[in-house]
Assembly symmetry: C2
Homo-oligomer: 597 residues x 2
């Protein structure tokens, strides 16, 4: 039996007069004027099928039984629709198929939600019935474009001499950064594999192996508390190159991203992407993920307020901190409540207060006006290049607090005021510090990972002022979201050991965990570096979706559950015994332990 | 700095006179006639670099320090080699690069084995230093062709309307078939994810979701005792189609495989592949993975020996078994020892004995000659179409024992005598039984998996003679190795529940494990089916390697260890506590528990 000759959604006037066989799902059935109209749906779209009791009574009798989401096989002939009945909203809206035969391949229960775009349904219900949710056109589009995007990436990298090389999923646990997912070994009691957080070490070993250009579209795993829009398993575009400098990797990446934008959403982005140093990003945007779709830059005014009566300002400057301001055009008439909201947000990021000046038509207005003096207020206005109608905001504190809180205000205000220009704004953040001091851990930690190379000229600082060492690291930011990051790697054992020591890994520990890497660096490791992009996030941004769950075929919830198959699930005693494990819930062991919903 | 302008291995006469920059590894250094010759190697091959103390003393001074596997950057000019010094074995053998500058980018310790093909080194050492092993040309070729093969598969399936859709790695444990690898959940104490043995259920759900044509090159996991050439993690080419019959899937698969053979090894295979039913394969080849590169068919001779004096034969026939023979040309003069070896092999497969007749120039010779009689011996010879010089082998027993043991002899003898024709011999095995009775488990088990559809005309037999029900299942066999298999799936809940019951899954259990599938089948599941191919095995056979480990970048040992990173490894108490687990090795719990080597 032939199930079909055409996809429903691709029929058109070219097929008028042809006999066709279709197979698909009933989107809608209407009975009208003694006829039955069925909108039949498949992956490619809808077509109207007409059943007549006069010409084809048997097909009509079958059609009388069909309901939404029934699976049908239909034979019929393609006709031009009668004048006046065309549907311009439908790709196939000028034609219809007059059924001569119809078979119900499978009936369907009534779905728990409509199979159409823009439904307002609890996401849990969509995830529980993901196979129905994925029938909706916007989800089909996400699947189709995800496939297409992966294809574009592979074609591009293949054409640039990259080999896709598969790295292991069952690997060694090296807890550093995020928490590993572990996999107990049955053969070796008490030993575990770990699922990779990324193929970092393996791709470096592939460079040592002479592969020269490696890539992989690869699943990675992090057992983190799923704040924000994260998933326990996610997909990366991961690549690594030998005999390159930072410049080579940025240029290659830009070509890749530009090709994706062109092929997937038809957008031409201009190259090269702008670059900004980490210092500058923090200073101007208050974040290392600057959203450059709007200005609203942070401006240092410390020099202007160093001597003012307003102690919050002058004291901060005196104590080595700073005062920075933000001019928000058109926000001068914010209500008390709106300004309180801003103050609350700044406080979340550690600011002890938020000073403001409203540039009203009748003149500047502010509770601190009198402590600043007219001259200073005017100087501030000029420094911030603000005109009438603007709201000036100031935070005075240690530099990090000032930048972080004003950065948060900046992005909040841009959204609130709709300042984001449409489109895709890429920016490279470069020259990250290699390490920063983590007071909680009482040690230096790396901003990227411990395999990142310092700039040659900064290497001597490793022993004297490590926080001043700049890394050969870079992040790509799109519309304020970090899309990916990478670095040139360390390729000499002595330097790698020095960095391990710097971050508090003693030699024995380093050799136990990373001995194979240290050893590999002694056998002719070439200069190399690479980058990894979050594939889910990239797709989310390109397709304009609200969450990465809308571009992942079978995502988990924010609480790491698969609502469709009900994973994780209990296992049998026998399975545990084979793995030499016993479940043991320590009393009050963890606040995050919750009952399965 | 520019690290290179050309790959070493791609230089040729076209570049003569050009200045080039190369980067790569020292394959070999020779000092000869006052000059230093370095064979420099990169991914693309070797080129000879010449250092002269007269023209470029600085470069020469650097070259004096280099040793094998040092990483160099070399500037120089391409010259034609002096007449008589060409190396015809080398792609770049007519040219050389005269170095004007040389930098050691990284030195190297002396590698533990030679970086060249055909080395005779313990595999454990190769795996421990995989990054050096992968530098060898034959391993580079494996990586390159693995990449190329994956690309060919993706291009082919994309062109045929398939979407690559990613399915979850953290999924639900449904122990059926092989053992699952488990991943403990931190958030839900006592609950576990399982790594997928295959994306079977998810790909079926994608068909219910209307994806129509799905594929994925995907990692799968089985925690099995690694007899034979298996890996804990392996890669499948997995695909599924809606609205298709067996025929459609076989045709699509043949196109895919033929394209791979053409693109990867330049072999044109003729289509369609031959097909053989399971019954016929067992009867003629004694296996469901027939190697059709040679004949040596099993021949039933029960009727000829039903009445002979030789009780082993006549008794077997009387008791409902059979007697089958194999004629091995040119083996009549096998020694006593060789025949004993055959008998031992047959015994491994349950045969209680092996009868034989040697067709020597002076006439047939056999210990059982007198119990058969001259007429029967001649009839046997004719039935087996055997001439002088052949060795006739017979097993008498239950049909399964006869076929299995003669099947094993068949393949052993073909190898011993070199009967395998060169090339790639594909064959489809079709019409598998849906179930067979497993005496050990005391229940029916499925030959493929419980989602395989029975042939419509056999459905009524499900309740009366289940072992006679034929499945819509098929396996692809290449040179006697199973490359892949698949089936049309059940797409109705009632039939799926019937098959679950048949294999002893009670309704509650079935709904607990597979409730989501059963439910999905009620929401308009289309007719669908698919297939999965073992990517590692396919590559191994195409590239003519001895083990799948030679086509996997970072394989585990037969004992599931990663010798490079030393996984599995112990983890911290803290990690275990977070997962609510305690390691507990039951005394004498398992014979397979071994110390980590």
């Amino acid at each position: 039996m032939i199930y079909r000759t055409h996809y429903c959604g691709t029929l058109g006037e070219a097929e008028i007069g042809q006999k066709v066989v279709l197979a698909g799902w009933v989107q809608r059935r209407r009975d009208h004027g003694g006829l039955i109209f069925v909108d039949l749906r498949d992956r490619e779209g809808l077509v109207q099928v007409v059943f007549s009791p006069d010409t084809d009574p048997e097909a009509f009798a079958v059609a009388e039984k069909v309901r939404s989401e029934y699976v049908l096989r239909v034979e019929g002939e393609v006709h031009r629709r009668p004048p006046g009945t065309e549907n311009p909203k439908l790709k196939t809206g000028t034609i219809e198929v007059r059924a001569t035969s119809c078979t119900i391949l499978n009936p369907s229960r009534t779905p728990p939600f409509y199979i159409e775009d823009g439904i307002n349904v609890d996401e849990d219900l969509r995830l529980r019935y993901r196979y129905l949710d994925l029938r909706r056109p916007e989800m089909q589009e996400a699947l189709r474009l995800r496939h297409r995007a992966a294809k574009v990436v592979r074609d591009y990298l293949d054409a640039h001499g990259f080999w896709e090389v598969e790295t292991p999923m069952l690997t060694r646990s090296t807890p550093e950064g995020a928490r590993d997912y572990l996999v107990p070994s049955r053969i070796y009691p008490g030993r575990f594999y770990a699922l990779p957080q990324s193929p970092q070490l393996f791709k470096q070993l592939l460079m040592v192996a002479g592969v020269d250009r490696y890539f992989q579209i690869v699943r990675c795993f992090r057992d983190e508390d799923l704040r924000a829009d994260r998933q326990p398993e996610f997909t990366q575009i991961d690549l690594e190159m030998s005999f390159v400098e930072v410049e080579d990797i940025l240029r290659l990446s830009e070509g890749l991203i530009a090709t994706l934008c062109r092929e997937i959403v038809g957008v031409e982005v201009s190259l090269p992407f702008p670059r900004i140093s980490y210092q500058e990003a923090m200073s101007l945007y208050g974040t290392d993920r600057p959203d450059i779709r709007y200005d609203l830059l942070l401006t240092d005014v410390s020099d202007l307020v160093a001597e003012v009566e307003f102690k919050v300002f002058s004291q901060a400057v005196k104590e080595g901190g700073c005062v920075k301001g933000l001019a928000v055009p058109g926000a001068a008439n914010f209500s008390r409540k709106e300004i309180d909201e801003l103050t609350r947000l700044a406080a979340l990021f550690g600011a002890k207060g938020l000073a403001y000046i409203q540039l009203l038509p009748e003149g500047p207005k502010s509770p601190i006006l009198k402590f600043l003096g007219e001259g200073v207020v005017e100087a501030l206005r000029q420094r911030l290049q603000a005109g009438e109608g603007a709201l000036l905001l100031f935070v005075a504190d240690k530099r990090e607090v000032v930048e972080r809180s004003l950065g948060a205000l900046r992005s909040y205000l841009a959204q609130k005021l709709g300042l984001e220009k449409p489109g895709l704004s890429f920016v490279w953040v470069v020259d990250f510090p290699l390490v920063e001091f983590d007071p909680a851990e009482g040690r230096y930690v790396t901003l990227h990972h411990p395999f990142t190379a310092p700039r040659e000229e900064d290497v001597p600082l490793l022993e004297t002022e490590p926080e001043k060492v700049r890394a050969k690291a870079y992040d790509l930011v799109l519309n304020g979201v970090e899309l990916g990051g990478g670095s040139i790697r360390i390729n000499r054992r002595d330097l790698q050991e020095k960095v391990f020591r710097l971050i508090g890994l003693d030699l024995e520990e380093a050799r136990d965990k990373f001995g194979f890497l240290l050893e590999a660096l002694e056998y002719g490791a070439p200069p190399h570096g690479g980058i990894a992009f979050g594939f889910d996030r990239l797709l989310m941004l390109l397709l304009g979706r609200q969450t990465i769950r809308d571009v992942i075929p079978f995502p988990k919830t924010q609480r790491a559950q698969d609502l469709l198959t009900q994973a994780p699930s209990p296992v049998t005693e026998e399975q545990l015994r084979e793995l030499h494990l016993r479940v043991e819930v320590a009393k009050g062991s963890s606040g995050i332990v919750k009952k399965l919903s």
